[in-house]
């Protein structure tokens, strides 16, 4: 279990993480979703002991990461965003070293190395130097190195960035298998689809703050059943606002000279009605986007930006 309470991390005046609180349970996958630079990696860094929190408290399986760092770290496995492998060593040698770094030795180490090589489908490449492995295989090995010591908590930081589709599917299957075995998984990503398909609970982070937290269903409920519609072009925003206000069930989220955002049920079917209202307001529509209820639409609703902006 990971318990994060009021985590804050600052670098001088820059606030990288601003009072984040969440709890990740054993046997479940907790996703931290947010755009690049939102504070996800900083949060992971504070949890695994790479960074010293400026304020707040983090406990891993009941051990405070600042007060009992060894006990906390021994229960964690880190799969960093960038590859963390020795290129000159073979896959097996890497696993042996990282297993030893977490206190494994002898038969226990041999057994675990064999097991994770099998899980990552790298048995036939066990003796191959890492520099000769493909990018996808390196990603799998990077993952295997993070779980070789069978940790109770696994931190995965953007584990599928730059991975080919086949390796991505395998990696995500491995993450699901970990959770099924009772491991607590903290998974950071900026891929909304990945978070939706993988995570049992999700925290949405932006500018260092946790702006939404809950299960996928709870988050979907926050955005409601309504579609988001965005019009781009040239608008007299007062006339546009007045014209749109006459449409039943429409919520005007934003009206500006360069674009308008609205939320309404079944927007795709009511587009002719919307275009008629905009035409009456002498609007020049150049672009129309309809977003159905999703984490993406929730993020847009909460921040006014797309996740990949």
């Amino acid at each position: 279990m990971i318990e994060v309470e009021g985590l804050r991390k600052t670098y001088g005046d820059l606030v990288a993480v601003d009072g984040i609180t969440f709890r990740a349970e054993p046997g479940r996958i907790f996703g931290l979703l947010g755009p690049n630079g939102a504070g996800k990696t900083t949060t992971i860094g504070c949890i695994c002991g790479l960074l010293q929190p400026s304020a707040g408290r983090i406990r891993v399986m009941g051990h405070d990461v600042v007060l009992e760092p060894r006990a906390a770290r021994a229960r964690m496995g880190l799969v960093p965003q960038e590859l963390a492998l020795y290129e000159e060593l073979s896959a097996e040698e890497n696993l042996r070293y990282w297993g030893a770094a977490y206190g494994l030795s002898g038969d226990a180490l041999r057994r675990r190395v064999g097991a994770v090589l099998e899980v990552a489908a790298l048995l036939d490449r066990a003796r191959t130097p890492v520099r000769k492995l493909s990018g996808g295989l390196k990603r799998r090995l990077n993952f295997a190195c993070g779980i070789v010591h069978a940790p109770q908590v696994v931190l995965l930081d953007e584990a599928t960035v730059g991975v080919d589709p086949q390796s991505r599917v395998r990696l995500l299957d491995m993450v699901r298998a970990l959770a099924k075995e009772g491991t607590c998984v903290l998974y950071t990503t900026h891929y909304m689809e990945e978070a939706q398909s993988l995570c049992d609970a999700i925290g949405i982070v932006d500018h260092g703050k946790l702006i939404a937290l809950g299960s996928l269903d709870e988050l979907r409920a926050m955005v409601g059943e309504r579609d988001l519609v965005r019009f781009g072009g040239a608008f007299d925003h007062e006339a546009t606002a007045a014209a749109l206000a006459r449409i039943e069930g429409l919520e005007l989220l934003e009206s500006a000279p360069g674009g308008v955002r609205i939320a309404m049920r079944e927007a795709s079917r009511r587009l002719p009605e919307l275009f008629a209202a905009l035409a009456a307001a002498r609007a020049e529509v150049r672009e129309t986007t309809v977003i159905q209820p999703s984490l993406e639409s929730l993020f847009i609703k909460l921040t006014g930006r797309e996740l990949r902006d």
Partner: protein
């Protein structure tokens, strides 16, 4: 402790998988040493010889005697030449000096009139022109005293030659011979046998070892410092490939990881010393009994230098800065500290500075161990000093590694 060994073994395997880097650490000092060794004239030091050109404008009996005398000086290779040709050869750097014997030199000597002999020296040379000048001065003094002793027969021969004869008459030659014999007979009891004589003894070990033995300890330290630079630079490679972050997030302490790296470096250093020092013993006649102490000192001081270089790498703001910093530090230290040029070949003031540098100091200790019996107790204070420096560098390095280097 187990993780220290695991980390050391991991680094040793990585080094062995990249043999080119390992060989370069050893090959570069060897290449530099070979070049300097050859530049200094190879293994057997030869007595330097100064090419001296003599322009004889006098062509007298006395000038002939002077030229013969100069030809017998061991360090001078005398040859005659015209004055213009001699000046050109000196200017071209192909001769040490040109001695011009002006017309009237023989008469001036016999008549005891003062006269100057121009000696034109090669400005590109420093030592050999001085040797030539000293030799010419001594021979001219000798000529003066010979003139004092054999003035009469020499004057008789001169007057016969001045009268147009091709060579002195038999009578004059016989009289001169008798005069010389008598003079030598008179002087024999004063000059032979010499009452005071110089007895030259070659100190066993020192001269036998030769120039190579002067170089080898310095080359060994150069290699150790290059190994230190390479092994310490691996910290940046580990940071770049992300493995440092994983180490810092593991339950093992950062000092254990750093100690493993230090141990791997120490093992490489020990392996190099285990080859180099017995070779030194084999080829330059070192007492094998001194090897264990020399080996211990070299490995220990090399490991301390490695710890210091690690600290420099960890304090640098970037890999490039670290590279520039270590190079800026290493090369002057190697040059002054006796690795490029042995202290024995340096001017005294520079050698004094060199011996005060950290590597120069350690090298001096090694040379003392190699050069003669050193009580292990005498090395206790230097060992403790080095250990203190090494521990300080290690602790500061571990602190920097854990607090910012791995994560920034």
């Amino acid at each position: 402790m187990r993780f220290v060994w695991d980390s050391a073994r991991k680094d040793l395997v990585r080094m062995l998988r990249d043999p080119a880097a390992l060989l370069l650490w050893i090959a570069i000092p060897l290449a530099i040493g070979a070049l300097i060794f050859l530049a200094f004239g190879g293994r057997t030091p030869r007595t330097p010889v100064a090419p001296l050109l003599i322009a004889d404008l006098d062509h007298s009996l006395v000038s002939g005697l002077l030229i013969t005398g100069l030809g017998r000086v061991p360090v001078i290779a005398a040859d005659t030449a015209s004055e213009s040709r001699g000046r050109a050869r000196v200017a071209a750097g192909r001769a040490t000096a040109l001695l011009v014997i002006p017309k009237g030199f023989g008469d001036a000597v016999l008549d005891e009139r003062p006269m100057d002999l121009p000696l034109i020296t090669n400005p590109a040379q420093r030592v050999l022109p001085g040797i030539v000048q000293e030799s010419v001065d001594i021979l001219l003094d000798g000529t003066f005293y010979a003139q004092r002793l054999f003035r009469e027969p020499l004057r008789e021969i001169r007057s016969e030659l001045a009268g147009g004869a091709e060579r002195p008459s038999d009578a004059a030659t016989v009289r001169a011979s008798i005069e010389v014999n008598r003079a030598v007979g008179r002087l024999r009891r004063y000059v032979t046998p010499p009452v005071v004589a110089v007895e030259t003894r070659v100190e066993k070990g020192a001269t036998e070892a030769g120039f190579g033995a002067l170089f080898l300890p310095g080359l060994l330290f150069m290699t150790l410092l290059f190994v230190g630079e390479g092994v310490s630079g691996d910290l940046w490679r580990e940071r770049t490939q992300g493995t440092l972050r994983r180490v810092v997030s593991s339950p093992h302490s950062v000092p254990a990881f750093l100690a493993g790296k230090l141990l791997a470096g120490a093992i490489v250093i020990a392996a190099i010393c285990l080859v180099a020092l017995p070779l030194h013993s084999l080829f330059f006649g070192l007492d094998p009994g001194r090897l264990p102490l020399a080996l211990a000192w070299s490995v220990f001081s090399g490991t301390v230098f490695l710890a210091a270089l690690m600290l420099i790498q960890l304090l640098a703001s970037s890999q490039r800065t670290a590279g520039v910093l270590t190079s800026m530090l290493l090369f002057p230290l190697l040059m002054v500290g006796g690795s490029f040029f042995p202290f024995e070949t340096m001017p005294v003031w520079l050698a004094r500075i060199g011996r005060a540098t950290p590597n120069g100091w350690a090298l001096s200790q090694l040379k003392a161990i190699l050069g003669g019996p050193v009580e292990p107790g005498a090395l206790l204070a230097p060992l403790l000093g080095l250990a203190a420096v090494g521990i300080a560098c290690f602790l500061l390095g571990a602190r920097r590694l854990a607090r910012g280097f791995a994560t920034s």
